[in-house]
């Protein structure tokens, strides 16, 4: 089969590519726009902003989410901030520098053209969000405030206390609700996408389950946008919300959309450590804390003294020691690995030995408790509620946890997948972050895709593609509906002995152990034996009480875990094939002094997997990455 990976990167200089594209794209005249319908799956930053802007343009949009309200999408939980190359601080920022930092931060595994466009529209994102009432932090004179974030040496991060994601999502959500009121966006909440419908080789609709009534519904459209977020919940314990799943993207993958770089998962360095067996998820402490917090462990192995009793000269501020120029602001993958090393050396704190300190004592001395509380108050309160300890009086304890997934459905420059008419936005696609995501860039990408990229590229698709009329009575819809119903009845009829969560936890342990912060050939091969066994047991022994014809939480979870099992296997295969270390993918065999050792000669490419059928091996395709502007170099933060 021919390789479908045509990245469609426009010609010309990196600075002109997007401008030129916007001119070259086909237009749809305003009177014709309302004749086109578009489905948007997911209503986080990418989905809500896409639905809002497409609705504004006049298209008929149907937006779907699993939540009871679109404003609950997990974008809501992002704390620290959003980057933009505004150079308001006069510290030397520019579109090019944001582009440069992001390409380098992604360990040269992102596509240059996409990243440049992201940096280019970043300034518009801030303008747009401020204009729609997002209350970003301000200086006394009324101008916007900025702070710095991991992986950057300039202050380009805009923030709204410790709830930037919440405020940005409220902005995008309210713009979408404006379109709901205007009648251009039709909102369907508590719906889960369970299949993608393809007619004549093009994405023409979706099958969803109404989570309240259990009803299976078909919805047709001229194009489909998937903006359903990331898949960190494959690890069971992660910072993702409970409903975050790979299901929508995975079903599209099974219908022919390639899945790119699944092994690139981000392990965030500052999470509250695991406390016990019954823990359901991990809570992130914003990376912005590393602006004023200093990370350390005791110098002596097994030093169990109270942190306040350990004198200064017996502490190892290891990030400042190892990375003097970035210090506590080293990028996430680097900071996470360093925490792991310290714990592996036996210098971890907490009863489990799996934690390091994040200490604010110096900053409180320098700036006063009031200033620290103004900057991070809600995070400190959250920490105290969860752990019962007061971080103003003693250092926080933190440990890395799965947080964000840089892999996702493969898309070209237009955010179109390998299925014509299927577009993918935000965390659900793979495109902009490479092997590691720098702080404050996920919110930027979600909004860039939804507000500033899709409105153009989707228009181009609709303006240049001949689309026959389809209706949900078409055979393709009937067949997909039938398949979905069969899978549900198969799950309901297993009537086994084990709960869905017990399978999910076991899968999560395998993934964390063998495909987590460090991976090696032996472990990955072991995981590739264990996951199929677990999957087989799942399909014979899972227990789902109740029935499928009304709200059934266990059934919802079972469908998601079934997809995580298949994805988990693909992640391990991808990790095994990528015989190099880069960003969040750290193969233990490939390192120099504990730092990731990339292999540009053999792996300077995107790996995109093609699904070939049940119990058949997926096929690996590659898209070569060319670095014409930021030259391939070893990442160093020293």
């Amino acid at each position: 089969m021919a390789n479908k990976l045509d990245s469609k990167i426009p010609s010309g200089s990196i600075e002109d590519k997007w401008t030129k594209s916007k001119f070259d794209y086909k237009l749809v005249n305003p009177a014709n726009k309302r004749k086109h319908s578009i489905i948007v799956v997911g209503t986080g930053l990418a989905g809500a902003s896409a639905a809002a802007s497409l609705g504004e343009l006049g298209y008929k949009v149907k937006a779907f989410c699993v939540h009871e309200s679109p404003r609950r999408a997990h974008s809501v939980a992002a704390q620290g901030g959003i980057n933009a190359a505004k150079n308001y601080q006069n510290d030397g920022d520019s579109t090019y520098r944001l582009f440069y930092d992001t390409v380098k931060g992604g360990d040269f595994r992102a596509r240059e053209a996409n990243v440049y466009r992201l940096a280019e529209v970043s300034a518009n994102i801030i303008d747009q969000m401020v204009a729609q009432g997002v209350p970003f932090a301000r200086e006394y004179g009324g101008t916007l405030a900025n702070r710095s974030f991991g992986g950057a040496q300039v202050s380009r991060t805009f923030y709204a206390r410790g709830q930037t994601g919440q405020q940005l999502l409220l902005g995008a959500y309210s713009e979408m609700m404006r379109q709901v009121d205007a009648g251009t966006v039709e909102l369907r909440t508590r719906r889960e996408m369970l299949d993608l419908v393809i007619v004549d080789g093009k994405a023409r609709g979706i099958i969803v389950r109404n989570l309240i009534t259990g009803e299976i519904e078909s919805h047709e459209a001229d194009a489909v946008v998937i903006a359903s977020g990331g898949y960190s919940n494959v690890f069971f314990l992660s910072t993702n919300a409970m409903a975050c799943a790979v299901t929508a993207a995975w079903k599209a993958h099974k219908r022919g959309a390639y899945f790119a770089n699944p092994c690139y998962t981000q392990i965030h360095p500052t999470c509250i450590p695991v406390h016990g067996e019954n823990q359901s998820k991990l809570t992130l402490m914003s990376e912005s804390l590393r602006n004023d917090g200093r990370v350390w462990v005791p110098k002596a192995v097994g030093d169990k003294r109270h942190p306040n009793d350990i004198p200064e000269n017996e502490r190892d501020y290891y990030l400042e020691r190892v990375y003097p120029s970035f210090g506590n602001l080293a990028p996430r993958d680097v900071a996470s690995r360093q925490a792991k090393y310290r714990c592996d050396e036996g210098r971890g704190v907490n009863e489990s030995g799996k934690a390091v300190y994040l200490d604010f004592a110096d900053s409180i001395k320098r700036l006063g408790e009031d200033k620290i509380s103004e900057r991070y108050g809600n995070l400190f309160e959250m920490y105290e509620k969860i752990t019962g300890q007061n971080p103003y009086k003693q250092p926080m304890m933190i440990y890395p946890a799965p947080h964000y997934t840089m892999g996702g459905l493969w898309v070209d420059y237009n955010l179109e997948s390998t299925i014509p008419g299927l577009f993918v936005a935000g965390e659900a696609n793979f495109s902009d972050h490479g092997a590691n995501r720098l702080g404050a860039s996920a919110l930027m990408q979600g909004l860039a895709d939804g507000y500033f990229v899709l409105p153009y590229t989707l228009g181009n698709y609709l303006g240049s593609t001949k689309l026959e009329k389809v209706s949900i009575t078409n055979d393709a819809f009937k067949a997909a509906e039938h398949g979905v119903k069969q899978e549900i009845s198969k799950l309901m009829n297993i009537k086994g002995n084990r709960t869905v969560d017990s399978f999910h936890k076991e899968l999560g342990n395998i993934m964390w152990e063998y495909c987590g912060m460090g991976r090696n050939e032996e472990g990955l091969k072991k995981a590739l034996q264990e996951i199929p066994k677990l999957r087989e047991e799942f399909w014979q022994n899972v227990r789902i009480p109740g029935d499928a014809n009304y709200l059934n939480v266990e059934l919802e979870k079972a469908g998601r875990v079934a997809d995580f099992m298949e994805l988990g296997e693909l992640m391990c295969r991808d990790a095994l094939e990528r015989k190099e270390s880069c960003g969040g993918h750290f193969r233990e065999e490939y390192q120099v002094d504990g730092e990731a050792k990339r292999d540009d000669a053999n792996f300077c490419h995107v790996a995109a997997w093609e699904y070939t059928g049940e119990n058949k091996a997926s096929v690996r395709h590659t898209e070569e990455l060319k670095f014409e502007n930021v030259h391939l170099a070893t990442r160093s933060y020293k």
């Binding site: 609950r72 204009a131 729609q132 009432g133 919440q166 016990g276 019954n278 019962g388």
Partner: protein, 262 residues
Amino acid sequence: MAGKTLNLTLRVWRQKGPKDQGGFVDLQAKNVSEDASFLEMLDAVNEELVSKGDEPIAFDHDCREGICGACGFVIDGEAHGPMKSTTVCQLHMRNFTDGATLTIEPFRAQAFPVIKDLMVNRSAMDRIISAGGYISQNAGNAVDANAILVPKADADEAMSSATCIQCGACVAACKNASAALFTSAKISHMALLPQGQVERKERALRMVAAMDAEGFGACTTTGACEAACPKDIQLTNISRMNREFLVANATKREKHSDGGAG
């Protein structure tokens, strides 16, 4: 952080669906870690129910970080439980005593019909937002963000109102099931910012009308909402909403038809 464990009796509201009568059922929660959150305690109870082939207790929850606003029910008569400024997902078991009996029931309000057990339908709040909880700003051509200065005090106060997570605890805590705190927080957020001025009056009129149309009760300023709010949304927002509404109502102009030039 492995600490003590607790044994609790839970009197839980079970209701199969919106038309079902519903009632309390006693369940035991054994060996609960004091480090577990309230929802993790319920997860453990649910695992046991599922293992026995029974249906788990349905409750809404998602981020479990106190920010998405999905979770929320009433524990011993208090929305989100006994801790001040805390969502139920951030309520930890170390705040309860061993051997206690806890009564758990859904948020109750005419505008929030029960879906199942502790899960209610709060989409009325989305409809209030779509009636005017936005600034009409099309994507793509906004002016530079620093072109309009916003005094820090105003930005901070707008931010404080904007922290509402739309959980509905204010409605559940109110004897009239009023949504005034929620609606007023959104009206305040936008009325305090320069960007929100153009639509300020229309917004107040439309959102208040939508709130009434959804069947929420009237505000009698008892302050129960403020006390139950996990995000410390202040009662002053309601005063501001009332003022915004009165001014808008008093100065309302007749609508003209929108005919354009030829």
